[in-house]
């Protein structure tokens, strides 16, 4: 088993920088998830670690050994591709055993290992078929089998479940979690799916435009995002934001904004808030006049297990509210108030960094208490 580290890694394609000065330490046996919007460089970063894309500047270190110039197949890494990338003209057995074939193992050894892997993944009845005769879920299993058979020290997954329907996705997510628990192998997992990131990850790396925005446990990212980008990226529906103006005298600060917003907060650090953010699940709807902000109820969505309300506060500001129960007799078009607990309020400075206020520590404490 092995640890993985990236030391000031940069990469550009032509004149376009894709990865800029990334530093990352992944402990042995850890499952780290890379998330970020499309085009943020998360797949490129994975390929840099794998050795499929040559590193521009910096070093890739696996198990305390610099592997920057070592070819992909010699790094003790297995890669599971988004499209599965099974060889269409080979049987499943040969697909799984192909790497061993390349290594020059004997037929019996290969057959034994393939059979063993196929049994653990419950695909032993498919070994003589070809990839096109398999369903998406089965192909996914074969792709994982192909990674497993080489007994790698590090597994890399590139959006492995994005081609599956939601039922299968959940099932395979469980499988991967189980796999990680059983093998205790180091895994790096790229996804754009929040649920996968939150449920699988020991730590999440949020990437944006080739830079790391924040590294932390799922709870840290959710409860204590370092900046507006992470706050907006983690959580679904996404966090509500609103531009505000602030008058501060020392640490005391009065925040004012649309919807008759006027709040007094005590900042516990330097900076002046330019934007506030509140998660949809932290909001509650009250009658007009009460609450901290007023707006017009625009739309209600009944999802069965929860309800979503959209409240327009200003022409360009609409907040979503997540409610466990139906709203009752309030109909769309009426004025409502929105309320929240002060510790659920996020403040962001002009540069997007989150500013601490006197009550935000309670939330951070909750984040760190939830996970070691």
């Amino acid at each position: 088993m092995a640890s993985v580290a990236l030391r000031s890694v940069s990469k550009s394609f032509g004149h376009v920088p894709v990865i800029t000065d990334v530093n990352l330490e992944i402990a042995d046996g850890e499952l780290v998830v890379f998330v970020g919007p499309s085009g943020c460089g998360k797949s490129t970063l994975l390929r840099l670690i794998a050795g499929l894309v040559p590193v521009g500047v910096g070093d890739v270190v696996i198990d305390d050994e610099v592997v920057t110039d070592i070819p992909a197949s010699k790094r003790g890494i297995a890669f599971v591709f988004q499209s599965y990338a099974l060889y269409p003209h080979m049987t499943i057995a040969r697909n799984i055993g192909f790497a061993l074939e390349t290594l020059g193992l004997s037929r019996q050894e290969i057959d034994a290992k393939v059979a063993e892997v196929a049994a653990t993944l419950k695909i032993d009845h498919l070994l003589s078929r070809r990839p096109r005769e398999l369903s998406g879920g089965q192909r996914q299993r074969v792709a994982i089998g192909r990674a497993l058979v080489r007994q790698p020290e590090v597994f890399l997954f590139d959006e492995p479940l994005s081609n599956l329907d939601s039922d299968l996705r959940m099932e395979m997510r469980m499988e991967i979690a189980k796999l990680h628990a059983n093998l205790a192998a180091t895994m790096i997992y790229v996804t754009h799916d929040q649920v996968e990131a939150m449920t699988l990850a020991d730590r999440i790396v949020v990437l944006n435009k080739g830079c790391i925005e924040q590294i932390g446990t799922p709870q840290q990212l959710y409860h204590a995002p370092q900046n507006r980008f992470v706050a907006g990226f983690i959580g679904s529906p996404r966090m509500n934001f609103m531009s505000v103006s602030a008058n501060s005298s020392g640490a005391e600060c009065r925040v004012q904004g649309p919807g008759n917003l006027s709040l007094d907060v005590t900042l516990s650090g330097p900076g002046s808030p330019a934007e506030i953010g509140i998660r949809p699940e932290a909001l509650s709807i009250t009658t007009q006049g009460q609450g901290k902000v007023t707006g017009t109820l625009e739309r209600l969505e009944d999802l069965g297990h929860e309800h979503l309300a959209y409240v327009r506060i200003a022409p360009d500001v609409a907040w979503s509210v997540r409610l466990p129960n139906a709203l009752g007799k309030i109909s769309t078009g009426t004025s409502v108030g929105l309320d929240w607990r002060l510790e659920d309020l996020f403040l962001f400075g002009k540069d997007g960094r989150r500013l601490d206020h006197s009550l935000s520590h309670e939330r951070s404490a909750a984040a760190n208490g939830g996970r070691v």
Partner: protein, 288 residues
Amino acid sequence: MSTRIKRRSAAYYRGMRRVRRVALGCVTALVLFYVLFPYYWAIVSSTKQGAELYNSVLLPALDFRHYKELFRDANFATSIFNSLCVAISTTALSLGLGTLAAYALGRLNFPERRSLLLTVLMISIFPQVVVLSGMFELIRWFGLYNRVWSLVFAYLIFTLPFTTWVLTSFIREFPRELEEAAIMDGCSHWRILTSILLPLMGPALVSTGLLAFILAWNEFLFALTFTLTEGSRTVPVAIGLLAGNSRYEYPFGPIMAASVTVTLPLIVLVLFFQRKIVAGLTAGAVKG
């Protein structure tokens, strides 16, 4: 409210559909007639004797004397053998070299790639006549004059560019992840090409190979220039130089019989591979 759309009766649309179907049939028949008539005429003429040739009866006379004579002619057998040798070697060589070049041009990144591809394309647009005299000198220097292999050497100059070009675009269409998977499995470039790409390139190889074969089989100008004696002639030249019984007789019947005979292998090949050809020619047109 939707805007009013003028609609006619169902019978009208039914009628229009029938008219369209009939019109399509007529046009298809016309095109088929235009394409197939010359070949049909060659078959008809090849079974006619002497003066019969000069009345334009459309039905074949079913007299196969010309064919029998043809197969008794040893020179014709030699030229067929020569043609087969030339066409098969040309095809094999251009597919082999073309695949290697295509892999490099389609997959590996090196700075001269674009200019190299353009050069390849440039070569294939020169008319044969332009290359002819230069090629003649080359062939003399290599001591290949009046040998069958001179033609293989000469034909590569126009088969290789297009095989390379077609195979390059085919390889480019290959999913990148498939190749990355092979790299992760420890494959060298050579193994990627032979174990992963080649088995999947069947349709492209068949269709480009067939085109190369047909070009080499039918080529006349080079074959006429670079060969001298009957023993090294290919079929098109042999047919072109067929002589009549006297210098006043143009051997139209035997020529037609020979032409029909040498076209048959091509037709058989095309029919045999037709499915793969379609797959190969449309590859890259639609993502699948």
